[in-house]
């Protein structure tokens, strides 16, 4: 039984790795330099810090933020964006990720309010459409979280430790 479970785990792990490497799920490496004229890596960092805070305030599942960041990077790999629209991209990616991952009941207004109503509901929905078109609905993607969980599983199996011990590592 144990060996069989290991074998299946291995297959799953290989599959996850192959999915992660798929080109369509990866942002381009140098989009900041080549494509983006108005934004800088520093602004992206600030945006993500703000999103992390948002995720905390609204008690979203941990994976939501990782998915949102992946959507943001993939969108930025294809479309140049102006400084003033960057936050809209961030908040909308977060909205899609939370709908997809969290089955959350937060509606579009909640997310529009987080930007102090700087962007209205219509703008968020319009952005949602653009993002989904760019990502071509490829929303599920293994994230750091997926792999951490996998490693945690393996670690628990080998050391017979309970999983909460690893949760805090």
């Amino acid at each position: 039984m144990f060996i069989r479970r290991r074998k299946r785990g291995n297959k799953m792990y290989k599959y996850l790795c192959s999915v992660e490497k798929e080109k369509k799920r990866r942002p381009k490496m140098d989009y900041m330099k080549i494509l983006q004229k108005d934004i800088t890596p520093h602004m992206r960092g600030q945006l993500i810090d703000w999103l992390a805070e948002l995720a905390d305030n609204y008690n979203l599942l941990p994976n939501v933020i990782y998915l949102a960041v992946s959507y943001i990077d993939r969108y930025l790999s294809f479309h140049p964006i102006r400084k003033v629209r960057l936050q809209l991209l961030g908040v909308t990616s977060m909205y899609i990720a939370s709908k997809y991952e969290d089955l959350s009941t937060h509606n579009v207004e909640t997310f529009s309010v987080t930007t102090c109503n700087y962007y209205d509901k219509e703008e968020v929905l319009e952005m949602e459409n653009k993002i989904l078109k760019t990502l071509d609905f490829d929303l599920s993607s293994p994230t750091i979280m997926t792999f951490l969980e996998k490693f945690e599983e393996i670690a628990c199996e080998e050391n017979n430790a309970s999983s909460w011990k690893f949760k805090f590592l």
Partner: protein, 319 residues
């Protein structure tokens, strides 16, 4: 609008018409599953003349204000991750900048559903087809389950077949409208989807922490239906089907399904429990190995039910 009615396709609204006619022609309705799951129709790609199947997912009126709902995000993104010879391939997702909110899915086209095939008056020797059918269907299912996706709505309608020289050349599982990826944290799942005739007993009893075994049960029912040429359990609601299941397979007891009594108190009312019928008498045409596999797929306890990967290694399916 007049033109559309003239062509015999009243199922498209003028807006939808504007989106798909630039690239597609020759529309023909295949089946309609009501407003919730959308219509499926076949059409031709103008550029290559390739025949494709198209499905329109419409956003329910009350959810429009929140953009694309979870059900559609989930449905489409699951379809996008799937790539297996026994699963209907999604070619493209059509979205436009026009003011149309629907999502158009374009699939490969396969001739008949199993339901249609079984309804044909003199089908080809079905017993002979049982083995290749089950092998292909289970390998599609095994692929899904390895990726931790539960289909949750397997029925003859959702299995498409194409034939060559009286043999199944292609078998594709389709309709992932209520499919679900199992991801932690495991929250209770909905039990209100799918056709009750193919629902596993744990779903009918109301357990919300079910797993991939529900698909195996459905597949067992479908396999039995192929052999019998009629649905194994007939009825239009849960309790009726549950009664039929217990009549054929006996009532579950604490021995063969540990924990069932604590989750479902009325089971103890069956005292003494109903004895299972002899499957060999029910399916006289099926060989012993086939019977053994069928009984493992129709095992009442979900934890002892055979998995898709194990079933593929069963003597009955070994080449």
């Amino acid at each position: 609008m007049e033109e559309i009615v003239h062509l015999g396709i009243p199922f498209l609204t003028p807006d939808q018409w504007d989106v798909i006619t630039p690239a597609y022609k020759d529309f023909e309705l295949i089946r309609s599953e009501g407003p919730r799951f959308g219509d499926m129709f076949k059409c031709k790609l103008k550029s290559t003349k390739e025949v494709v199947a198209m499905k329109i997912l419409t956003i329910p009126e009350d959810q429009k204000s929140n953009g694309i709902p979870y059900s559609i995000l989930n449905h489409v993104s699951i379809l996008k991750t799937l790539n297996h010879p026994n699963i209907l391939k999604l070619h493209t997702v059509l979205r436009t900048d026009l003011d149309v909110e629907d999502v158009f899915l374009v699939f490969e086209y396969i001739d008949v559903s199993l339901k249609k095939f079984l309804a044909t008056p003199f089908p080809i020797d079905v017993i002979k087809l049982g083995k290749p059918f089950l092998r292909q269907a289970l390998s599609g299912l095994a692929y899904l389950h390895v990726q931790k996706i539960i289909h949750r709505n397997l029925k003859p309608n959702n299995i498409l077949l194409s034939f060559q020289n009286h043999e199944i050349s292609k078998l594709k599982l389709t309709d992932f409208g209520v499919a679900k990826s199992i991801e932690p944290p495991l929250s209770p799942y909905s039990i209100n989807m799918g056709n009750p005739c193919y629902k596993a007993p744990e779903l009918l009893l109301g357990f919300t922490n079910y797993s991939t075994a529900v698909d195996i049960w459905s597949m067992g029912c479908i396999f039995a239906e192929m052999i019998k040429l009629q649905p194994l359990f007939i009825g239009n609601d849960g309790p009726k089907i549950l009664t039929e299941i217990f009549c054929l397979l006996g009532t579950p007891t604490e021995e063969n399904w540990p924990g069932v009594a604590s989750l479902c108190s009325f089971i103890q009312a069956f005292d003494p429990p109903i004895k299972p019928k002899d499957l060999a008498a029910e399916f006289p045409k099926l060989e012993p190995d086939g019977l053994d596999l069928l009984s493992r797929m129709l095992c009442l306890c979900p934890n002892s039910r055979i998995s898709a990967v194990e079933a593929l290694e069963h003597p009955y399916l070994r080449p």
